[in-house]
Structure formats: structure tokens, C-alpha cells
């Protein structure tokens, strides 16, 4: 059972109170983009073993979307953060670097 803290409510939500909403930080490519960019936006997703960033919705609660960083191999949750951002906050990235030196995710790179 996954337990994530909703950054808007401060509630420790267990999984059934939430809805998984796929990968975090997708950049939308719409009209005017190349076929390759559009295909990537629609279909190509990360499927890492290890550090991953996801979007969740506190559907049985405040209804807000938020982001979560966790490890897909151990289910360890590194933290949750606001959805109003283009990339994970620096302190969270540092925290992940401390636990998983050398992690990478798309264009993001951890230290160590």
C-alpha cells in the first residue's frame, strides 16, 4: 500500500484515496509540432526501475493534482510536491541524490 502526503491537504493519503495520473512533467506538443514530438508526447513514457516522478490526484479529498517522487523498485516515497512546477524542487532532488546516487530520469540527473 502506497501512502502519499497530499501537499494541499497535508493528509497522509493511502492509495485508495488517490488516483494515479501517469507520468509527471510531460511537455505538451500540439499543433505545429513535428510528428516525432507529437508521438513522444502522446505515447512515449518512462518505465524506470528506480527513481520515478508521477502525477497523482487526491480524488477522494481536495481534488487537487500533485506530484510524487518515488522508487518503483522499493516503493520508497521520496516526497510529494505541488503540481504548479515544471520540475521537481531542488531540495527533493538533493534528497534523492543522497539516497540514490547517480539517479537519472529523462533529462534530470542526480549528483553522486
Amino acid at each position: 500500500m502506497l501512502i502519499l502526503e497530499c501537499p494541499y491537504c497535508g493528509v497522509q493519503c493511502e492509495e485508495t484515496e488517490l488516483h494515479a495520473d501517469g507520468e509527471a512533467h510531460l511537455k505538451r506538443f500540439g499543433p505545429g509540432s513535428s510528428d516525432d514530438e507529437f508521438e513522444g508526447y502522446l505515447f512515449r513514457r518512462e518505465n524506470p526501475k528506480g527513481v520515478h516522478f508521477e502525477r497523482w490526484r487526491h480524488v477522494n479529498g481536495c481534488g487537487k493534482y500533485f506530484h510524487a517522487a518515488r522508487c518503483t523498485a522499493t516503493l520508497e516515497v521520496f516526497g510529494t510536491y505541488s503540481a504548479q512546477t515544471l520540475e521537481p524542487p531542488k531540495d527533493l532532488q538533493d534528497k534523492i541524490s543522497a539516497k540514490r546516487p547517480g539517479w537519472t530520469w529523462r533529462e534530470l540527473k542526480g549528483e553522486g
Binding site: Y8, V11, C13, E14, N60, C62, G63
Partner: protein, 193 residues
Amino acid sequence: MSEALLQSALNGAHSDGFVRVEELGVQGMITLRGDFASAGFAAAVEKVTGLALPAQRKISIGENATVAWMSPDELLVLVDYASVDATVAALTEGLAGEHALVANVSDARAFFRLSGDDGAVRDVMAKVAPVDFSPEAFGPGDIRRTRLAQVAGAFWSPEPGVMQVICFRSVAQYAFDLLRISSETGGEVGHLG
């Protein structure tokens, strides 16, 4: 309001297991959305309800109104059913110029009350919602918006031994049956009291 709408969803259904479950009558409920950080928003709420904005996951119970925190930009205001229209009008007037929404949702809701031994009431709620119901974690003044088994709901405890539950009117029967079955004699848990 027409007389027909003055009937609550389940016409006051009740059950007496190890906890009493009853459907309360019609209740005025207003959804209020806006920017909590705006001074004009807080001032309008205080002027109409007499209450300051509740803190995160808190509910303020006043003499004529109750204000509950529903999300970082949403409040639920409870008033007498008869005074809903006047309250909506006053809030709308007070919030003129603010980016805000005032909606009368009274007839879209069902309202229940559980009463009995405090621990037993908490045990019943713990059967249906994924929430820590120990008195230290959920006490008077707290409100939680979550799910009741398969439907959305919210609840708070105005005093020990009492839990008030709201849900959508369309699922009133489901919510009542859920609470009734969870409080049937023989189903005592004894974990929280």
C-alpha cells in the same frame, strides 16, 4: 423553494445498532471558492458568517453558521435551510470584485448523524473511511473529506460521541445502508473505545 424540495433524501431514515444512525433534515449548504489569501475574501466570509477562515482541515462552528475547509481554495458554509438564499445573496454581494464562486448546493447533499459511545462511533467510521479515527488524530474542530467505502463524503465530530457525515444526495441510500450495516448490533469492534 417549493415544498417538494424541502424533503430530505431519505425522509429521516434511522437505525439503532450499537450506534444510532439518522438522516438529518434539510440543511443549507453553500460551496464557496476563491483565493483565501485575498483580504477581501476573508472579510466577506467573516462579515456574513461571523467566522474567520478555518485553518487547513478545520471546521469553525458558530452560532448561525458553520464554515469548513474543503481544499486550499474551497469552503463549505452551513446555515439554516431557510436562510440559504439570503446567505448566498450576502456572500455574492460581499465578494463582488473578487474572483470567487458562491453556489447553493443544499439540495445536492445528504446529511447524517451518528451518535452513541464515542469509541463505538469512531469504530463505525473506521470501517468505512481510510482515516485514523483515534481521538488524538481526529478530534473536535477537524473535518476530513475522503471516501465512505465507494463514494465521496466528509465528516466531522462536533462533540464526543457524535459524528456528522455529508455526502452527495444521489448516493444517500448507499451511504445510509453502509453506515447502518456497519453499526449493526454484533458488529462491535472495540478498538477505539
